[in-house]
């Protein structure tokens, strides 16, 4: 059950993200990129296999790895979150600069004639 919910969440996030990234407005692109990055973070997390109620670190006297959740993907997700957060902030600044410089929020910097 958890697996289906997680898979659906990743799928829906990715699909909406890709759709938004292909839109012509810069704000839509940035929201799309954010959604895809959430989907990717969940995806990395799921690659460590789903375990509920298991700790990610060992305690003394019970060092059997089967008792614990895989800590590596959790560390990877943490790094990926920090990096994508920073780069989204940077992209926002460029987006505003582009809006100010070209006077348009179209990704090409100019409106396509209807």
């Amino acid at each position: 059950m958890t697996q289906i919910v997680l898979a659906l969440a990743i799928g829906v996030l990715t699909a909406s993200g890709v759709w938004l990234m292909l839109r012509p407005r810069t704000f839509q692109v940035i929201i799309g990129l954010s959604l895809v990055s959430y989907a990717v973070n969940l995806f990395i997390f799921s690659m460590g296999r789903l375990r509920s109620g298991a700790a990610a670190f060992t305690s003394k006297g019970a060092e059997d790895p089967a008792l614990y959740a895989d800590p590596t993907p959790q560390a990877l997700v943490l790094t990926a979150i920090v990096i994508s957060f920073a780069l989204t902030a940077l992209f926002l600044v460029v987006l505003l600069a582009s809006r100010g410089e070209t006077g348009s929020d179209h990704v090409d910097g100019q409106e396509t004639p209807e």
Partner: protein, 531 residues
């Protein structure tokens, strides 16, 4: 081996990081101090890179190949993080430091004043590139890739102006998407194999269960797409020309190495993971890389001939260079790869020099005069209208004659004509491909010949327009600052040096290829635990 020598390998990563961080503390107006610090950093990185290169060229005590392994925190290899300096990575680090030092010197003449925090961003870029070359596991590769990209976003926008912001927007969007693919690929590979260390991965690939192999291939392919986007393989590389030609000249020159980072990872992973020892995965994706490389050469050559502006032509030259390396990797043949490694070094230096020459020759011109697109629109604003700040310092006399000579050398290098090093690399690739035979070998020979012809036509035409057919009344006289002259001369001297010491250089490239097609030595060095 003394203690400091063991830590030499991490120097090209830590030093630029520390100096870049320290530089943020100083006021932006203390340019002399910042310039001096960056020059010191680049000189020190160059010295360290050459020391590492010397070590991998002379080999271990027994005269064999050597890979220096550095375990961070002294954790053993598959569990901890390792840095690996073997023949290929030290060569790439040395190339980065030569190109980086020359671009930095070029920027000192005037470009570092065109916007804030140029030096810090530049050093962080160098740090990211060096880290990507030296790291031994996939996730740190991602981290260094992101450091490099984040710094490059800043540098691409350096100098501001509408053209840069528009190009930068597309550049950032494409690269963020590619980074997402990178993460998906890495996590799929981790999910299947349970490791991120490249050497450990190579050991585990033959043992992957048949049911999981498809998933592993999907992960590897997605990862490959991320790197192929970075090295601008057709049809993933349309972002490159607009970004590189809009970027300020020193940034564009150092960006020439960014696409080579993508090419480096493709070389490293294709031969390490999908070499003959890869079991059922051996040779995975090779045909696609070969075809993509050939298509990239064709696309880049057509673009080069069509370019009406020298900086756009230089950007297409970068694409052709990537395509050539990819096609050579696609053959999976050691001799072809040896030629490609030698070619890669020379062509990267020449592309960097071309970006600098393009900026010097087109400086102050009406941007619309030659191309339909404004490239340096903002030249009329901030740093350049202000006469006092616009002083390029000491000016080199007889600039046009010197630039003509420099342009000639850069053209010969890019086109791969004798007597320079570009020719040696290209000839070696052609000769090996012809011996390799089959349709692939002959296709490479034809593509490389046409690429040479195209580069010659395109660059000669642009050179004639910029140097000989100069309308002296309408166009401002060419002024070359001493620092700019030194930077261009440095890059071209490195190209000539490659030609003069071609034998030693080519032997090194050939050994590197041999080392790459026998990955077991690399695996043993990393998993064996230290040097």
């Amino acid at each position: 081996m003394t203690d400091w020598q063991e830590h030499l390998i991490i120097g090209p990563i830590v030093l630029p990081m520390v100096i870049a961080a320290a530089m943020l503390l100083f006021d932006e107006r203390r340019r002399l101090l910042k310039g001096g610090l960056s020059l010191f950093a680049m000189a020190a990185i160059l010295a360290m890179a050459l020391a590492l290169l010397h070590e991998s060229a002379t080999g271990a005590t027994g005269g064999g190949d050597t890979a220096r392994v550095y375990q961070l925190g002294d954790w053993p290899a598959p569990f901890g993080i390792v840095l690996v300096a073997d023949r290929l990575s030290t060569l790439m680090v040395a190339l980065t430091s030569v190109l980086g030092a020359c671009s930095m010197i070029f920027a000192l003449a005037r470009w570092d004043r065109a916007g804030p925090r140029f030096h810090a961003l530049f050093l962080l870029l160098v740090m990211g590139v060096n880290g990507a070359f030296l790291t031994g596991d996939l996730f740190n590769l991602f981290v260094f890739f992101e450091i490099m990209l984040a710094a490059s976003y800043g540098l691409a926008l350096h100098g501001s102006g509408e053209a840069r912001i528009r190009a930068g927007l597309a550049y950032i969007a494409v690269n963020l998407t590619a980074s997402m693919l990178f993460l998906i690929g890495v996590s799929l590979i981790y999910g299947v194999t349970g490791t991120l260390n490249m050497a450990d991965l190579a050991v585990r690939i033959p043992q992957i269960a048949e049911a999981d192999r498809g998933l592993f291939h999907v992960g590897a392919a997605i990862l490959g797409v991320a790197f192929l986007t970075k090295c601008a393989m057709w049809p993933l590389g349309f972002w490159l020309t607009t970004t590189y030609s809009a970027a300020s000249a020193p940034a564009a020159a150092v960006f020439a190495i960014l696409s080579k980072v993508g090419a480096y990872v493709i070389i490293r992973l294709s031969f390490l993971l999908f070499g003959p020892d890869g079991g059922a995965s051996a040779g995975f994706g090779q045909l696609w890389i070969l075809l993509g490389g050939l298509a990239t050469i064709g696309f880049g050559t057509a673009g080069l001939i069509a370019a009406r502006d020298l900086s756009i032509a230089a950007a297409y030259a970068v694409i052709v260079s990537s395509g050539t390396v990819l096609a050579a990797v696609g053959t999976g043949n050691a001799d072809v790869l040896g030629g490609a490694v030698f070619y890669l070094v020379g062509s990267t230096l020449a592309c960097g020099a071309l970006f600098m020459l393009a900026e010097v020759l087109n400086r102050g011109q009406d941007p619309g005069a030659r191309s339909g697109r404004a490239v340096f629109e903002d030249e009329y604003f901030d740093p350049f209208d202000d006469e006092e700040r616009n002083e390029p310092g000491l000016v080199i006399p007889a600039a046009v004659a010197a630039l003509g000579g420099a342009f000639l050398i850069a053209t010969l290098m890019v086109a791969g004509l004798p007597p320079l090093a570009g020719f040696i690399g290209k000839l070696a690739m052609m000769e090996a491909s012809a011996r390799f035979g089959g349709w692939a070998g002959y296709a490479i020979v034809v593509a490389l010949s046409l690429a040479s012809l195209g580069a010659l036509i395109g660059l000669t035409r642009l050179g004639v327009a910029a140097l000989w057919a100069r309308d002296d009344d309408a166009e401002p006289a060419v002024v070359v600052g001493a620092a700019e002259g030194v930077a261009i001369a440095g890059l071209l001297a490195a190209c000539i040096f490659l030609a003069i010491f071609g034998e030693a250089g080519f032997a090194y490239a050939d050994h590197t290829a041999d080392w790459l097609v026998r990955p077991d030595a690399y695996i043993r060095a990393v998993l064996g635990g230290g040097s």
